[in-house]
Amino acid sequence: MTDETLEESLFEAPPMAEQERMVEAILFATSEPVTVAELNARMPHGADAKEALEHLKKRYEGRGVSVTKVGEAWAMRTAPDLGFLMQKETVETRKLSRAGIETLAIIAYHQPVTRAEIEEIRGVSVSRGTIDQLLELEWIKFGRRKMTPGRPVTYMVTQEFLDHFGLESARDLPGLKELRAAGLLESRPPPGEPLAEDEGEEDENQVDMFEEDADLIEETQED
């Protein structure tokens, strides 16, 4: 592309219908979710992928394929009610152990969470293999370290996790609101133990996490 056309397109983006086609083609072509930023980078200058996505999402409503949001990215997926047609495509995933499933749920609902916190919730130690398996599945990742003695590493769920379970974001986890309302996501120190520095920090983290969410929710609603 010459500089001339680039400059031109600064002022004139393709019509929205055309942008919608472009987003459709890009999402259709890849099996991985694509971020809005990447869409914009690949589309002609001046294009507004976010708006085009909204149009496209609407267009695919009720179709055999749907446009779904995965964290900050977007992807096309077949409608879940048609899964029965796809026996051929079904991939046998390694069966996760009960410990694996519970550890995954705890990470999802309590993220960012340390191994010690997972063990505290489950009441047993978490084996290295369980964490490794979840990491290998790319369902969890390392979060930032906690600012507590020993600076323990934390775990969080990934975009792949959201994609796998068809979640738009970690906020859409089933029952999250109820759990929060019931105080079951708070970390409560056992009575008698001094409110350790790390507990205070933890609460702060949790507030952090949900404050950020609050902003996002507002943003989304504005749109």
Binding site: V91, L104, I121, R122, G123, G166, G175, P190, P191
Partner: protein, 260 residues
């Protein structure tokens, strides 16, 4: 054969023991066992009787002991703690004791059980969701994004002029440096560069300023490079140009300082 009853009793005992071993193996630690036991109370976990639960647990451990089942250490630790909790809950509070009350400890245990139970429910709900590769599917024939390497050719105005000058002077080309030594002085370089920098609107390799005839012979090249470098530093000092080098041994680039 000698004592049929005893033998029968032993078999029964052993079977019961095996069942218990299997059960204990089926639990993921004392908290899990407590959660299972709490189910027998058939009430909301928030209204559970921790005292009754503690008694159930202790009875369970007692039974395991009589059957000589080796319980993992953490089951015994929990038993000891629950025995302590039980005494706290039954005895009137000791005003001398500064530790947490039995009620507080019981409440925390109830919280832990409720939280574990909630996480189990969440895990089940999560796994019951539509899953990728099972209920919904990704694109079967992904089209790879090809990475295209595009070469963009570029040239500076200085290149252009030097090229033209080279052509126009080809026939009668006779570098004036021929009748000098293999040394270029700082003054010469400075003189030259003053005339040239006006055209260096963009970053240009300092070496491209070397005069014709000084680039190939190593001796002359060295001298010219050194004097041009010194001259460019001089020009930087005067504020006429800017100079940069991205890395050690990377090309030194200069550019006319934009006039304000």
């Amino acid at each position: 054969m000698m004592d049929g009853d005893t033998q029968f009793g032993e078999v029964e005992e052993r079977l019961a023991a095996e069942a218990l071993i299997v059960d204990v193996d089926g639990y993921e630690g004392p908290l899990d066992l407590l959660l299972m036991l709490s189910r027998t109370q058939k009430v909301d976990l928030r209204k559970i009787s921790v005292l009754a639960l503690a008694e159930q647990y202790l009875a369970f451990v007692e039974r395991a002991k009589t059957l000589r089942i080796e319980l993992a250490a953490d089951y015994l630790v929990m038993a000891a703690w629950l025995a302590f909790l039980k005494s706290r809950l039954l005895l009137p509070p000791d005003p001398e004791d500064e530790g947490p009350s039995g009620e507080e400890l019981a409440a925390h245990l109830a919280f832990q059980l409720e939280r574990l139970s909630a996480m189990r429910d969440c895990a089940a709900k999560l796994m019951a969701r539509d899953q990728k590769g099972r209920d919904f599917f990704v694109r079967g024939i992904p089209e790879d994004v090809t990475r295209v390497r595009k070469v963009r050719y570029t040239a500076t105005l200085l290149d252009l002029m030097q090229g033209y000058a080279r052509l126009k002077t080809k026939e009668d080309f006779r570098p004036y440096t021929m009748d000098r030594d293999h040394v270029m002085t700082l003054e010469q370089a400075l003189e030259r560069m003053r005339g040239l920098i006006g055209y260096a609107g963009e970053w240009t390799d300092l070496l491209s300023y070397l005069p014709e005839g000084w680039e190939s012979d190593p001796k002359r090249r060295r001298s010219a490079t050194a004097s041009h470098f010194a001259a460019s530093l001089e020009l930087v000092k005067n504020g006429a140009i800017q100079i940069r080098q991205s890395d050690i041994f990377a090309p030194i680039q200069i550019k006319a300082r934009p006039r304000d």
